[in-house]
Amino acid sequence: MRRFLIDAAAYLSGLASGFARGWSRFFFRPADPTPLGLIRVAVGLLGFWSLFVLGLDLHAYLGSQGWAEAEASYQSLPPYAWSFWFFVPDSLLRAAWLACLGVFALLALGLFSRTTAVLAWVIVVSTVRRAPVAVFGFDQILSTLALYLAATGASGQAVSLDRFLRRYREARLRAAVVRPQGARVVAPAEPGKPRPTTSANLGLRLIQLHLAFIYGMAGLAKLQGPSWWNGMALWGTMAAGEFVAFDFTPLAAWPVVLNAMTHGSLALEIAYPVLIWFAATRPLMIAGAVLLHLGIAVVSPGLTEFGLAMVAANLAFASGTWLRSLAAGREDEQPALRVLFDGACPRCRASMALVTAADPDRVIEPIDLTAVDVASIHPSLRPEDCMRSMHVVSRSGRVSAGFDAVVRVASWLPLFRPLALIGGLPGVASLGRIVYDRIASSRPRDAACTDDVCGIHPPASSSDSAPLSPDRASPPSGGLVRDLSQKR
């Protein structure tokens, strides 16, 4: 008996300590904040859209004498529930609504992210509480995601203007440092790839757990319904006249198809809470969830936003590295572009600071042409051409110059991609080249031109050059960046 008790105690003790270790590893290990940043963007956009749609019937939803009168609605609030909309007079309703739209817009952009995340959550909860008669699944998911973004304060750590502006200021400061005998550094010290943090992991883990719980509850509840057993549940949604946008009644002749879709949906919801935690099955679960929600949106367009919110929540399970590679390419394909800029030109340095601050990873490698032999970057490059306009060399060896180089750089940076699309339009491109050439030819420089290879002044020796930042100090591929002293 004593042995049994000792072993049982040892087992329980081991179990408890193992659980504590697992808990700590699960919740408090730093994680890449990129997925959380993307979820923030989605919550901001969906919150903005939802509130905008409410605004089409603003007084009906939120007015004191709307569908649910404010006084009666206030009386029926659950314990501890709250909403600021009860305190907004009708005369200020439109102004308050506009301010709330502004908050969601800032959240989507990632400006003042910590503050706007909290405000966005306050708006979501307040709206749900003020107009509970208009709430459906979408509001529940949005409220949940907003809560975790607000509570962890980590949503602005990636994919945000907050981070971009911080990196831009840092890059500008570094670019302003005069390095008479070396290349100008125009990139921020903080790398494009965001630093993993515990707060980001906490936010992602809470979303993951909640999502698994939602799918699990939805699946378990469906097990009570006979139509989920006889395989005709989806017919019930596809033939519900009030919901559907298209005619799905021809499917009545294809019961096996309906059965397969019904059983597949249920299987996904039941399996998701378990299989999502295994690396091998996680992509299948995410793909299945995306298909499920897109399917729901096709059947019932009114639930499109619900589906998008669920898809956004599923981002919590995606790898930040993989998500970033969708925009920046794979790590072994970087840098995608080598940008030759005039390091003696303050405007060029500021532009490059802007570019490097927007770099999601290491897509762009800025090279100060006043400190290198440009022919070593690409045999076709000549110093006088490079001095005339910015040149960009892609990994494939393709060279772009001037305005076309600007568009090429912008096309690689998610933040500036819209500008690249506009800049690529035929008329805009022609105008852009003219404007660019004028600006480039009249740009101010720190040093006056003294010879044919204007501004290229090799350092006396490489040993006394100002140090480059660690991430820029060594050429990433092939050692093509050489200064003239090394050449000599």
Binding site: N201, L209, A233, P283
Partner: protein
């Protein structure tokens, strides 16, 4: 829970390009750069308590709605404060059995004796589909708020009995009266839009040459009276 984050990645050569599956599959907590400073022990302990309470509250909220056991309801009651403050505690039991869709029909009577009928949800709603989805939610809420009061009565009956209409129906009727000037009274009724069985759809299609109207009158239950509401400011 799950495999240890980062285990796979450490074995990859620097600069390697893992497949999409491996990339997605790698645990999201896998560190990619020099991580930020670790949280102090006190912060981890405080966060642990908060997370544990939150998880229990979310689980309690979902388990405590009917059908549920007395134990589940008691457990959920412990977190009433959490559900109120944080707007959590939802059941997430989506479409356990696809139900008929409630439709609210309001008849607005004017002083001159003419009538106007307002349907919620409207058949066609201008603007984004979400706008109509909100109307569906309102119809559901009105239906749910009146359902309990009418239990025990004949559901197909046009006569609803003597129960006091719920505040939501009264509020909505008053809104309609204000939104449609000249209205002297509003009568609210609710009916259900039924889902036709596939066999019936096939039969009808055969009879009509391949057409089936999901808004056929036979798919609607008899309207159930909710209440008459005079628009006299009372």
């Amino acid at each position: 829970m799950g495999r240890k984050p980062g285990v796979r990645r450490t074995s990859e050569p620097a600069g390697a390009s893992p497949s999409v599956v491996e990339e997605v599959a790698s645990a999201p907590a896998a560190p990619t750069e020099e991580p930020g400073p670790a949280w102090p022990a006190w912060a981890r302990r405080a966060a642990t308590v908060a997370i544990a309470v939150h998880i229990a509250a979310v689980a309690g909220g979902a388990l405590g709605v009917p059908p549920s056991s007395l134990l589940q309801r008691r457990f959920a009651d412990l977190f009433t404060w959490h559900h109120g403050l944080f707007d959590q505690g939802y059941a997430y039991r989506y479409y356990a059995e696809p139900p008929p869709t409630p439709v609210v029909v309001a008849t607005l009577r004017r002083a001159d004796g003419s009538d106007e009928v307002v349907r919620i949800p409207e058949r066609e709603v201008a603007g984004p589909p979400m706008r109509r989805q909100r109307q569906l939610a309102l119809a559901n809420a009105l239906f749910a708020s009146t359902r309990s009061g009418h239990e025990g009565h004949d559901h197909g009956d046009d006569d609803g009995g003597d129960e006091e209409p719920p505040w939501l129906a009264r509020s909505y009727a008053k809104y309609l009266g204000r939104a449609h000037p000249g209205t002297s009274s509003v009568t609210l009724k609710v009916q259900q839009h039924l889902i036709p069985g596939p066999d019936r759809v096939l039969e009808m299609k055969e009879e009509t040459g391949g057409r089936f109207d999901l808004f056929d009158k036979s798919l609607f239950t008899s309207p159930r009276w909710i209440g008459d509401f005079p628009c006299d400011g009372s």
